[in-house]
Structures are given as structure tokens and as C-alpha cells.
């Protein structure tokens, strides 16, 4: 074996990537060649020193959280497995159990609404049925709902704040007709579902479902659900601006 060949193959020897035949050939050459032997020793040393040092970087926790948030949410444990848990917890007082049961039932309603909202959002985009009343004027859209719904939904034009009102339509969530408002932000459509009741929840929350971001918050008598493929930050901004305009 010549030196120029050995100088390449000795790296594969160090990395344990050579078959037995080639490994023996390199070792035979190195035994007779001081220069290649010195190189083999040097590169082995270098590899050892690299291996003993911490040269990797740890991904920041915040980056991990951001990526996790962009992936669809993990499936929730279903109700039956939770109820099984109650039965097993013999030490659990019935009062606490009752409280937990209410929480579970409420979560069920919310998760049902959530999955219906995702379906309704997809339907509105696929069937090209975004609006029954096409107008960027809130004073046209709001009266349209009169007589179609028991309670008039809040309709707010946010065009000046970067979210253009496209129009409204009737949709069905949780077995009831409800108001859906469509907004546009650049190329992204936001569907805002105004669901009667459930307005007792405090605080707003954003989660990712099937690749869509869903922002939920409450107003007196309503729970509001905004869904879009818009990024979570801007969707939260939409929710805050809508809530602020409604109160203001």
C-alpha cells in the first residue's frame, strides 16, 4: 500500500469503518512507515481529545417549547379512563370526586366544540362557503344576524388594526345555530365562532389543533373561538384587539 492511499484509509481505521482485509493492509503499511504511523497516532490523539470535550450545544428549552407548540396537541385521555381513575381512588372524597366530574364534563363539551370548530373551519374553506353576508361593514353584517339568532353576536370591524372583516355566516356548533365571522390577515383566513353560553370561563388560551391555531376567550354570555392557520402570536393579537374593541 502506498502512503497516499494509507493517509486516507487510516481515518477509516480510526473510525472503525474498515473491513478486516483493508484494516490489516493499513496496519501493515503503518508498521513500516514512520510518517504514516505518526499521522495515525496524531489523528487518534486528536479524535480522543475531541471526544473528551463537550463540543455539542444544547437546544434552548424555549426552542423546544416553541416546536412542541407548533405540532398538533397530543390526544387527551378519554372520559372513561378518567372515570376508571375515580373508581380506583377509594380514598377520594365524594365531594372532590363530584367537583372533578364537573370539570371532566365541561372539558368534554369544550373538546367537542373544539373538534366541531376545526371541522367547520375546514368546511368553510373547502366548500368556498365563507360568508352568507359579504361585507366589510360591521353595520351591514350585524343586522343580518337579527332574526336568524336569538342573541345578537358582537360584530367588530378590525380593518384599521390589520384584520379585515370579510363577512358573516350562520354555522352550527354544539347542535345550535351560531354566528361565524370571517376575517382576513394577509393570505390567512380567520374564522371567529361566537358560541352562546360558556362565557363563565376566565382567561384566554391558545392551542394548536390539527395544525390550526385556536384562540379562545370569553365575553359576557359568549365564548369566542378564533381559528386560523395564522401564527399563534398574531392570532392572540387578533383576540386581544377584538376583546379590547368590544369593551371599549
Amino acid at each position: 500500500m502506498r502512503c497516499e492511499e494509507a493517509e486516507i484509509l487510516l481515518h477509516a481505521l480510526i473510525d472503525d469503518e474498515l473491513d478486516a482485509g483493508h484494516a490489516r493492509a493499513v496496519e501493515t503499511h503503518v508498521a513500516d512507515c514512520r510518517r504514516c504511523a505518526a499521522q495515525l497516532r496524531d489523528y487518534r490523539d486528536m479524535r480522543g481529545m475531541l471526544a473528551r470535550s463537550t463540543l455539542s450545544y444544547e437546544a434552548p428549552a424555549d426552542l423546544k417549547r416553541r416546536i412542541d407548540a407548533r405540532l398538533p396537541a397530543p390526544a387527551r385521555p378519554d372520559r372513561r379512563s378518567l372515570l376508571k381513575g375515580f373508581a380506583a381512588g377509594a380514598g377520594l372524597s365524594s365531594a372532590i370526586a363530584a367537583g372533578l366530574l364537573i370539570a371532566v364534563v365541561r372539558t368534554d363539551r369544550d373538546s367537542r366544540i373544539m373538534s366541531e370548530i376545526v371541522s367547520a373551519h375546514l368546511r368553510s374553506l373547502q366548500a368556498d362557503h365563507l360568508t352568507d353576508v359579504l361585507s366589510s361593514d360591521q353595520h351591514t353584517v350585524k343586522p343580518w344576524f337579527n332574526g336568524r339568532l336569538d342573541v345578537a353576536p358582537p360584530v367588530i370591524d378590525l380593518t384599521a388594526l390589520g384584520f379585515t372583516l370579510i363577512g358573516g355566516r350562520l354555522d352550527y356548533i354544539d347542535g345550535k345555530p351560531i354566528a361565524a365571522l370571517a376575517y382576513r390577515r394577509r393570505a390567512h383566513i380567520i374564522n371567529l365562532f361566537v358560541v352562546e353560553g360558556g362565557g363563565d370561563r376566565s382567561g384566554a388560551a391558545t392551542e394548536t389543533v390539527q395544525g390550526f391555531n385556536v384562540r379562545r376567550w370569553s365575553a359576557p354570555g359568549f365564548s369566542l373561538w378564533a381559528i386560523s392557520d395564522l401564527n399563534a402570536d398574531e392570532l392572540e393579537d387578533f383576540g386581544r384587539k377584538f376583546a379590547a374593541a368590544q369593551h371599549g
Binding site: D42, L50, A75
Partner: protein
């Protein structure tokens, strides 16, 4: 195991949407379990290829979203090289963006041809050339100073601990190319190492 909500009797209508939501959640969970444990490896390569934290974080996030979108095309085997190959493509796009054109690693990922054959290097007296340990930061700098095509094979081999075959998969080149490029990369690294020792000598 997570099951689609729709399989639960008495829990509403069992719509297509619910079944889809369950399947999507399962898929996302599989991705979390198999891909996300390698995030440090992906981030490490991104740091070495892009040189700063912000760009590396953006590239890793883009890599993960891209990998998740194409998760169906991942057909088993080691997931680490698959992820690192995606990350490398994201980084090449970033090189192109920085240069306003496709440069950096080059269209084919080939190193510049000014690389002299190994055997033309100065023949030093072997005993004088023994390397001394450097601190970690110095070594990171030496790796970062290598041209990109050599830097990536050093990181993939010495830090990400990939086999030659896996490196070949990541850089989309034959195993023979991996071997010769790694030899050249270590030779360059050794030169830098000796220079650094001289620089830090008392």
C-alpha cells in the same frame, strides 16, 4: 395509548373531523417520541453550520416543521440522519439567502478544488507534531473556522457520532467521498490546532 375520540361510544357524533383529529394526534405523538429526542443533535449541527444562535434556532424550527410535514415519507431506519439531512437543506437555503445566490456549500456540495493532495503537505518531523489538549471553546472555534463542506463532516462524525454511511446519507454523497473529505477535514483541523498551540504557547 391514545385513541380517536370517535371510537368512544356515547361521546357525541363520531364525525370525520374527530377521527382525523385522533389520527393527527397519534401522528404528532409518534413524531414527538421519535424525532424530538434528537433536537440537541440537530441544533448542534445548525450552530456549526450557521454560526449564531438566532439563525440556528430558526433553522431547527423550520427543520422540525418540515420533517413533521414529510413524516409519512420517513420509512424507518435511523431517524437522526434523516433529520440532519433536512436541517442541512434548510441551512443551504440560508447560505443562499445570505449570499443572494447559491454559494456556500456550492450547488453540488463539493468542496473548493484548491484543496492540495494530502501527500503534498510539508513533511514535518513526526515527534515535533504531537498535539496537546486544547480547551473546548478553542476546539469549537477551530471547527467553526473550517470551510463548510469540511466543517459538516467533522461535526457529523466527531460530535453527532454518525457512521460513514449515515454521513453519506446526510450530505447526499458516496461513502468514498465522505472518507476522503473527512481525511482532508482532519488534516485542516490539525493544521489549525498546531497554529493555535503556537499562539497560546507561553
Amino acid at each position: 395509548m391514545n385513541r380517536p375520540v370517535a371510537s368512544e361510544p356515547g361521546l357525541g357524533t363520531g364525525t370525520f373531523g374527530q377521527v382525523m383529529a385522533g389520527a393527527t394526534a397519534d401522528r404528532a405523538q409518534r413524531f414527538r417520541d421519535t424525532a424530538l429526542p434528537h433536537l440537541d443533535n440537530v441544533y448542534t449541527l445548525a450552530r456549526y453550520l450557521l454560526g449564531n444562535e438566532t439563525d440556528a434556532e430558526d433553522a431547527v424550527q423550520e427543520c422540525c416543521l418540515r420533517a413533521y410535514r414529510h413524516f409519512d415519507t420517513f420509512r424507518g431506519g435511523a431517524i437522526k440522519p434523516w433529520l440532519l439531512a433536512i436541517l442541512r437543506n434548510v441551512c443551504r437555503a440560508e447560505y443562499a439567502r445570505r449570499a443572494g445566490t447559491v454559494v456556500g456549500l456550492g450547488e453540488s456540495g463539493e468542496p473548493p478544488e484548491d484543496a492540495a493532495p494530502l501527500w503534498n503537505e510539508a513533511r514535518e518531523a513526526p515527534d515535533a507534531a504531537a498535539l496537546r489538549q486544547l480547551d473546548g471553546e478553542k476546539m469549537r472555534d477551530l471547527i467553526a473556522d473550517l470551510p463548510p463542506a469540511f466543517r459538516e463532516v467533522v461535526v457529523l462524525r466527531e460530535i453527532n457520532d454518525l457512521s460513514y454511511r449515515e454521513i453519506a446519507q446526510v450530505i447526499d454523497a458516496p461513502v468514498g467521498t465522505v472518507m476522503s473529505r473527512l481525511a482532508r477535514a482532519r488534516s485542516l483541523l490539525r493544521e489549525g490546532w498546531l497554529a493555535a498551540e503556537k499562539g497560546s504557547a507561553p
